[in-house]
């Protein structure tokens, strides 16, 4: 069980949260300047390291905030929880 330190509620069990997928890179500012291949890459290819990833978690059974969590994919160690992206 992960323990995520919500900025509003403090440390809470993973079961209070809903997983929201990998945190995507910022949406390209000028969509018309982005090639089709780069769009597909942005949409479908998340970083997949044996290391830290950033992912979105929703404090569904708590304050309702969307958080961004930095977590290690091998150790599960959480090194950052922040509000928003």
């Amino acid at each position: 069980m992960l323990v995520l330190d919500c900025p509003f509620c403090g440390p809470r069990n993973e079961s209070e949260f809903a997983y929201g997928g990998p945190a995507l890179a910022p949406r390209p500012a000028d969509p018309s300047a982005v090639s089709d291949a780069d769009w597909v890459d942005w949409l479908t290819v998340p970083p997949n390291p044996m290391g830290e990833v950033e992912e979105r978690w929703w404090h569904l059974r708590g304050c309702g905030a969307w958080l961004t969590v930095r977590r290690h994919t091998v150790t599960h160690a959480v090194t950052e929880v922040r509000l928003g992206r």
Binding site: M1, N13, E14, S15, Y19, P22, D36, A37, V40, D41, L43, T44, V45, P46, N48, P49, M50, V53, E55, R71, T73, V74, H76
Partner: protein
Amino acid sequence: MQRYSFLSLCRHALGQHRGWAPVWRTRPLRDRYSAIIVGAGGHGLAAAYHLAKDHGITDVAVLEAGWLGGGNVARNTVTIRSNYMRDESIPFYVKSVAMYEALTRDLNFNLMHSRRTMIDVLQTWGMVRDRRRRRLIMDIYGSTYRDIDVAELRRRIPALTGGGPGSRLPILGAAVHTDAAVNRHDAVAWGYARAADAMGVEIHQQTPVRTLLRGADGAIAGVETARGPVRAPVVALAVSGHTTTLTETVGLRLPLRTINLTAFVSEPVKPVVDVVVNCPDLGVYLSQSDKGELVIGGATDLGQSFRRDIKQSVFEDTVAAMLELFPAFRRLKLMRQWGGHLDMAHDASPIVSATDIAGLIVSAGWWGGYKAIPAGGAGLAHLIATGRPDALTAPFGLNRFRHLDYVIETGTTTAR
């Protein structure tokens, strides 16, 4: 190859079983092959077997980081079925299930293959409609689903005493998939390895691949292993969760996320369930092995994970879900748990495909890939040998992402 039969068993019994040959040979690692397959799991070994058998290509090395059959082929619930959703998926899995049926004879290796009807226990109207929809699509492709009512369900699974009218999720009905089966995962790996080895394929265990190698022209040139470089014009990756770990070494990005899927078994008990029971609304499925252990699986861990153990919360949720329907199982002791890391593609369908790097082929995204081993191996071999996919794996190329032509497959996991 020493063939196994009743007669050979009798003959070797007379020699006190000292005359058996090794099931596959260990040979020196050469520095060059016609093709390299990375990963001696189900898909890698099946591909090696079909390369030799269907295409006559035997100058092949299968490189395995650990021991043969010690990866995900040993870390699943051996459930074989074809109740999928999409026009692209169902024919592939129907073929794979049929190939499994004949595999004991083809490989001359007893896989202990056991036809085992699978029954989906339906507890929400949404799931009832989903299974009806799946049944109508599966009918087109020769797979089977049949609706039964609650009384028939309880007659067929007497241990299923939960889910009554007063419960949280009363059972509404069930869907019966008669084409399911279970078999022995070790035997699948060993059987393919033995047959491929007999035709000349080399299998090298304890040979982890560190990086992929590219030539001056940008094409794949081979792999760098812990035992030195090995060169080949074609390299196929069948390494499950570590696909991107390897492709990143040559700068290739793939639409894959690695996640952790787990299972556990109870102590052995007398026969109590003779079907594979799947409870998609609760997220748990189970069957009973020939040894008598209940083999129990649940949902994946959330988020990306390269771990091979089970997270306590996933374990507790799965047990709680099972006990809602099988309250008597609370007295069972649980014996072992295991997890595997698998990579899931953006649309949850597999990827059997050439890549942007000439000569580099990937077989990845297998979520529940155990049932896909025969057809997936044959398709991977076809791609290695000819450079083109066969008809059944053609829909699973990487090009589908380029064209946003996804095969969005909700049948991938039983527990959904």
